[in-house]
Each structure stands twice: as structure tokens, then as C-alpha cells.
């Protein structure tokens, strides 16, 4: 690994996140990899730089820009795009890098020449030095397709090489191909129009973008963009030329269906697709719901997080500050065997005998130590909900395994080509609530972690869709931490509870999204999605992608979990939290018909959503009360971390509207159910 620099781009301010330094460096001498999504760009980048990056199969899930060094030159990998302009974040990022580049290594999927050459011709029209890399050349032979590369090279006027990045064949030709990159053939009529713009001292690449209606570029030179007609003339001319070229260079010997193709077809139609989805979801449930959230998280959170990490940090802190430590010993059936309380008025080491006794007692198997620090500020950082102790346990030992699990499953589904087909199958259902099929991705991720899903809403086409999905996530989708507790509560409550729960939540989902769909101005974007070939996911690819995404999420969201914990800690310290509980208490007892203590459970739900539900374990509730409680808690406010991330993504006004909305809905609906069934 020589050097790396991954920049995650935020949808709002692409500019500021693309450091000036990066752009300046680009000016020096740089090679840029450009191509449509799923062409194997990243594999080639990896080969050239010796460093791996994200290879994506679902068009546009992440915008990451990666830089490395190749033979003393900067080399950039860009997000997959279908053309250079400013329609979305991926394009904006790619455009900036391309405009400042010297050599473009244009990677195309040899199986999709007709689609991919459109971008190639645009790059050639920009007057850049280009080399064309025909990737997936091995697949051509399998499918009995031949491409006359010599002819293609002649027509385009640039070097063309065949590679198969996955099998690492043809990659030895990359070195000379980069050296031989040259300016390709341009159509005469376009060349003539371009010259007129270039006379105003505008470089050819930018002149082309201006003609194609790119407002970002035209405002830089303070001249008007090309008219819609001009742009279309260029686009259609280019499209026709692509078709001509493909007709000339491509020969198909025979067409052959494949088992993967069949599977792809079957997963599109609800008749066969829904059973396939059910099978996949069951497998996912066993992997995430059972394996990760039960076994792995149980170990990491309780044994490592609380038992080792928190115990040692708190013991260390207790050495310097007064505390009372309650230790309880449980047997393997989780029955309380014995308990002891230790008081240290001046730190552990001030009473060496008692300290020894405490250490021996608390290090027995099955011991759970609760540190009560006298100093409120120490409590704020190291107490039960301490900003440092609780947040680190939560982030590293509960959330990290879950996030990794979810990203792993997503990467598998993405790499196999299933995800775009799922989006297609569900498109009509999503249309009814003002969304298109792509919205399935953030909603699926929401069952893992709402905070993670809030960030993923960026991939949706319009602000309107982002608002609807964000609201759905905060109102009705229970995250995995919460689901686990709900499952336990429901398992004791029976089928009737389950049906009422699902019925109510589903009704709220439909009502909420229908209202939003009616109320929010504008139109949602229609589904238009490229379905890549189905294939077996490559496990190394999936693992590395999972790692990069999980790391990216922690880097972006991790900090906000600390901010959230600090806010709650301050509320507790100042007594606001207990005031809140007192206000909620009458609603809880009269309207929701639950015990007064349930109000604490709701307020604690703001810290972590599972705290809210877990508080209900200790109460003696009837089946009806359990039903009301889990409905209220599911609809209740998101945890503080997802609230903060939501504010960041969607702005203050929308964030607070949704937040207060969940309060009102949770209590209103929960109470309504209580009045009916209790």
C-alpha cells in the first residue's frame, strides 16, 4: 500500500469536501480511471496502485474517491458514471477529477459496449488523452462474442487493450497502454462548434461541457450554456456514432442463456421473486438476527465491553474519586447468588484492604459491578450512561458487529446483482407511497441501524424521496437493537399481540407515507435502473467492501454517538430528564394504561432504543399492556445518535418536525390501542 486517500462525499457540499490540495495535485501529472458502474475499474486501480477499493454493483451506493501513486504519477479512481455532467454527486465528483486530469484510462465492460462507449466518446470529445481498456474480455469468449479491437482502435483513434481484471489477464499491457494514451478522433461537426466556444479561451473539455448544458462550468466562465436543442443534438449524434461503431466491430456467434440469467428473471417477477426474497430474508435472519445479534453481540457487549473494558476503565477512575460499588454475583442460570456493596470515600487505594476484597469479589465468574460515582461530572463521563464508557461499549461492541453484519449482507446482495432486481420487483409497491424501488436499500438497512440508514438516504433521487424515507425510518422501522427486545416481549405475549402489533405499525406506515406523498410538493423520480448480470459474489470483494463501508460509517457517525450521549448526560445532570419523566407519567398511567415506571423506559429510549424496550422486562405487564408498550416504543423517537445524524442530513426544520411527530404519533396511537384493548 503506497498511499491512500479516501474522501467520502457529502451530498450537500461536494465542493468543500474535495480539498483544493487534491485538485492542485491533479494538475501536476495524473491518470484517472473512468467508467460506468460495474466495469471493474476498481480492480484495475487496485492492480496499478497495489491498493484495493470498493467495487460496486449497485449503481451509486457510495461516493468515494480514491487516490494512489503509480510510477510517480497520481492515479485516481472515480465513481461509476454514465456520462460527465452534474446530474448527481457521483458525476460531480468524477467531473472535477476528469477536468484536471492528463491521461484517462477509460475502463469499459466489453459485454456492454453499446452502453459504455457513450462515455468513451464523450471523453474523446473532451480532447483528453485516452486509452480504452476492454475489461471482461474472458466473458466475451464464453458468450461467443468477438470484438475487433484493431478496428475499434482505428475508429476511435485511441489505443484499445483487452483485459480480464478478475483473472488478472492482460494487465501487463496496462503500462504501455497508459504511455500510449492519445487524443482520439472527433466528429467534424462537433469539432467545428467546439472551436467557436474555445475561441473564448476555454479549454476543450470545459467547452464541451458548456455546450452540453453543464451550468457549473458555464457559470465559471460567465457565459450561457448550450441550448437544450444543442445538447440533444450532441447526445443523439454521439449515440448514433456509438451504434455505428458497435455494429462495425462486434460479432455475435450465438446467443446462450445461463442459469444465472434465469435466476435473475425469476427474482424480478413477484410471483417467483417473493418466494426468493423470503428465502433470502430467512437466511439473513439466521445470520444477523440469530448469529450476530444474539451470539456475537452477547459476547462482545457483555463479556468484552462491560466485563473487561468498562470494568477496567471504571476501576481506574474509582481510584481517584469517591464511589460506591455494588457487586452482584449471578450463577449460570442468571439467578442472583450473592451481593455486596463497597464504599470508597476517597478512591480505591485509600482503603487497601477493602480494595483487595472488592477486587477478589468482583473478579469471580458471573460478577456484575455497578460503579456509582459521587461526583456528577465523573458520572457524566464514566457512569452507567457515561459519555465515554457507555458510548464506546455501544459503538464498538454492540453496533460494530451489527453494522458489519448488515453491510456484509448488502455487499453480497449487491455483488450478485440481486439488489437492483429487488428494487425493480418492489418498485410498484413503493410508487404508491411516493418512492421508487431504490428506497428498499435505506429501509432494509434501517432494520440494522437507523443512523446508518439515515446516511444511506443520500442515494435517493430527490429531496422529496429523502424526506419520505427519513420519516418512515424514524417513525416505524425498529432497529436491530430494538427488534431483539420486541421479539423477547412478544414471545411471551402470543399471536394476537403480534398481529395487533404488525397491523398497527403497518397502518401507521401506510397512513404516514400516503400523507407525506400527498403533502410534499414536487414529483418523485421514476425508476430507471440498469440490471447487471447475475453472478456469484466474489467473497474477497465482499469482505473488503464490507470493511470499507463499516469503517466509513464509524468515521462519519461515530462522533455523533458521543455528542448524543453528552446531550443526554447533561439532561440527566441538570434534572431535565426527570422533569420529562414526571410530565410523561400521567400520560403513561391514564392514557396508555401502563405503570408509571414505563415513562422512564420511554425516556431512556432516547439514549438507546433498546434501553426503552429493555426497561419493560422488569415490569409485570399484562399481554395487552405489552402490546401497547411495544407499539408505543416502536413508534417513539429515534435514538439520540440517529436524531443528530438526521438533523445533519435533513436540516433542523425537517429533523425537529419528524422528531416531535414521533412523540405525538407514539403516544396518540399507543393510547388509542390501549383504550380499545385494555
Amino acid at each position: 500500500m503506497k498511499s491512500d486517500n479516501i474522501i467520502n462525499l457529502n451530498s450537500e457540499n461536494t465542493k468543500s469536501l474535495l480539498p483544493q490540495e487534491t485538485i492542485n495535485e491533479t494538475i501536476k501529472e495524473s491518470i484517472v480511471l473512468v467508467g460506468n458502474p460495474n466495469v471493474g475499474k476498481s480492480c484495475i486501480f487496485n492492480f496499478l496502485s497495489g491498493m484495493y477499493v470498493d467495487v460496486s454493483n449497485f449503481p451509486g451506493t457510495t461516493v468515494a474517491l480514491t487516490k494512489s501513486i503509480y510510477k510517480g504519477k497520481n492515479i485516481f479512481d472515480t465513481p461509476g458514471i454514465y456520462g460527465v455532467s452534474s446530474f448527481n454527486d457521483e458525476e460531480k465528483v468524477a467531473k472535477k477529477i476528469i477536468l484536471n486530469s492528463d491521461i484517462i484510462l477509460n475502463v469499459v465492460n466489453a459485454l456492454h459496449l453499446e452502453r459504455d462507449l457513450f462515455l468513451t466518446l464523450q471523453l474523446i470529445d473532451m480532447g483528453k488523452r485516452v486509452t480504452l481498456v476492454l475489461n471482461f474480455a474472458d466473458e466475451l469468449k464464453k458468450r461467443k462474442i468477438r470484438i475487433d479491437t484493431a478496428k475499434l482502435s482505428e475508429l476511435l483513434g485511441v489505443e484499445v487493450i483487452e483485459t480480464s481484471a478478475v483473472n488478472k489477464t492482460g494487465l501487463d499491457k496496462l503500462d504501455s497502454a497508459i504511455e500510449n494514451a492519445k487524443i482520439g478522433n472527433q466528429q467534424l461537426d462537433l469539432h467545428f462548434i467546439l472551436q467557436q466556444v474555445m475561441e473564448k479561451n476555454i479549454p476543450q473539455a470545459e467547452a464541451l461541457l458548456i455546450l452540453e448544458g453543464d451550468e457549473e462550468t458555464s457559470s465559471k466562465y460567465e457565459i450561457g450554456v448550450g441550448t437544450a436543442d444543442e445538447r440533444e443534438k450532441i447526445y443523439i449524434g454521439r449515440r448514433n456514432r456509438v451504434n455505428e461503431i458497435v455494429d462495425t466491430v462486434e460479432y455475435e456467434d450465438s446467443k446462450k442463456g445461463e442459469i444465472f440469467n434465469l435466476l435473475g428473471r425469476l427474482s424480478l417477477n413477484p410471483l417467483t421473486g417473493l418466494p426468493i426474497l423470503a428465502v433470502i430474508l430467512t437466511l439473513v435472519y439466521f445470520f444477523i438476527g440469530d448469529f450476530i445479534s444474539q451470539r456475537i453481540v452477547d459476547y462482545t457487549e457483555n463479556v468484552i465491553g462491560k466485563g473487561v473494558f468498562e470494568y477496567n476503565v471504571k476501576s481506574f477512575v474509582a481510584d481517584y474519586t469517591p464511589s460506591r460499588i455494588d457487586v452482584e454475583i449471578f450463577d449460570t442460570q442468571e439467578n442472583l447468588v450473592s451481593q455486596k456493596s463497597f464504599s470508597f470515600s476517597d478512591g480505591l487505594s485509600s482503603l487497601p484492604v477493602l480494595q483487595k476484597e472488592f477486587e477478589n469479589y468482583s473478579k469471580q465468574p458471573g460478577a456484575v459491578s455497578e460503579f456509582n460515582f459521587t461526583n456528577p461530572f465523573v458520572r457524566l463521563f464514566f457512569g452507567e450512561f457515561g459519555v465515554i464508557t457507555m458510548t464506546i461499549t455501544y459503538l464498538l461492541f454492540l453496533l460494530t458487529p451489527l453494522v458489519i453484519g448488515f453491510y456484509f449482507v448488502m455487499a453480497l446482495l449487491e455483488d450478485s446483482g440481486y439488489l437492483p432486481r429487488l428494487a425493480t420487483m418492489l418498485d410498484r409497491a413503493f410508487n404508491k407511497i411516493g418512492l421508487n424501488g431504490r428506497a428498499v436499500i435505506p429501509i432494509m438497512l434501517g432494520f440494522g441501524c437507523i443512523t446508518m440508514a439515515n446516511i444511506t438516504t443520500r442515494l435517493l433521487g430527490t429531496e422529496r424521496e429523502k424526506s419520505i424515507v427519513t420519516a418512515i425510518l424514524q417513525f416505524v422501522i425498529p432497529c436491530s437493537a430494538q427488534l431483539a427486545v420486541i421479539t423477547v416481549l412478544l414471545s411471551g405475549a402470543g399471536l394476537k399481540s403480534l398481529l395487533i402489533f404488525i397491523g398497527v405499525i403497518f397502518t401507521v406506515l401506510i397512513t404516514l407515507s400516503t400523507i407525506l406523498n400527498k403533502m410534499l410538493p414536487g414529483e418523485s423520480s421514476p425508476l430507471l435502473i440498469d440490471l447487471p448480470l447475475m453472478r456469484l459474489p466474489r467473497i474477497s470483494n465482499v469482505i473488503k467492501k464490507t470493511f470499507y463501508r463499516s469503517y466509513g460509517f464509524m468515521k462519519e457517525a461515530g462522533f455523533w454517538f458521543f455528542v448524543g450521549a453528552l446531550a443526554i448526560g447533561i439532561f440527566e445532570l441538570t434534572g431535565i430528564l426527570s422533569v420529562w419523566q414526571d410530565i410523561l407519567a400521567p400520560f403513561t398511567t391514564h392514557w396508555l394504561k401502563l405503570p408509571k415506571e414505563a415513562a422512564n423506559a420511554f425516556v431512556m429510549g432516547m439514549v438507546r432504543r433498546d434501553f426503552g424496550a429493555a426497561g419493560l422486562f422488569d415490569m409485570k405487564l399484562t399481554v395487552e399492556q405489552i402490546t401497547v408498550a411495544i407499539i408505543t416504543i416502536t413508534l417513539f423517537v429515534p435514538c439520540i445518535a440517529s436524531f443528530v445524524v438526521m438533523l445533519k442530513e435533513r436540516g433542523w426544520k425537517e429533523g425537529f418536525t419528524i422528531w416531535f411527530g414521533t412523540w405525538i404519533t407514539a403516544f396518540f396511537i399507543g393510547g388509542l390501542v390501549a383504550q380499545i384493548i385494555i
Partner: protein, 75 residues
């Protein structure tokens, strides 16, 4: 069958595109290889009207509302 729209295409039929809607979506269609005058095959028509078309080896899913705005001749 002149002046039909893409959402009316049945599974397995070929259509020739006469007119695409305007705006950004038009550019996106052109980039994906769907232009006026092209003949594409409807390989799947899902309940509700989502259309999956094929052009050469490329499969593209088109939402119902968008399909309604694409004028075609069904062959």
C-alpha cells in the same frame, strides 16, 4: 399499432421508440442506450406495470410512470 406507450408493451414483444419524455430523464435514457428510433425488446412486464427492456445484452428496468411517458410503436 401506432401511438402506444411503453407500459402497454407485452412480455416478449419488440417496440420501436418514437418519443422520449423531456428533461434529465431523457438524457439518462439516451446514455443507457435508449433513443428515439431504437427498437428494444420488452422482456418482462411485472404486475403493476414496471417494464424490463433489453437492448442487446443490456437489461434496463423502467418504472411504470416513466414507461407511460415513452411513446412507442409496438411491433
Amino acid at each position: 399499432m401506432p401511438n402506444s406507450t411503453l407500459d402497454k408493451a407485452r412480455k416478449g414483444t419488440a417496440v420501436t421508440i418514437i418519443k422520449l419524455p423531456s428533461g434529465i430523464i431523457r438524457i439518462q435514457l439516451i446514455r443507457l442506450g435508449i433513443t428515439e428510433g431504437d427498437t428494444i425488446k420488452c422482456i418482462e412486464r411485472l404486475p403493476g406495470g414496471t417494464i424490463v427492456v433489453q437492448k442487446n445484452r443490456q437489461e434496463i428496468a423502467v418504472g411504470y410512470d416513466l414507461a407511460k411517458k415513452i411513446k412507442v410503436i409496438i411491433l
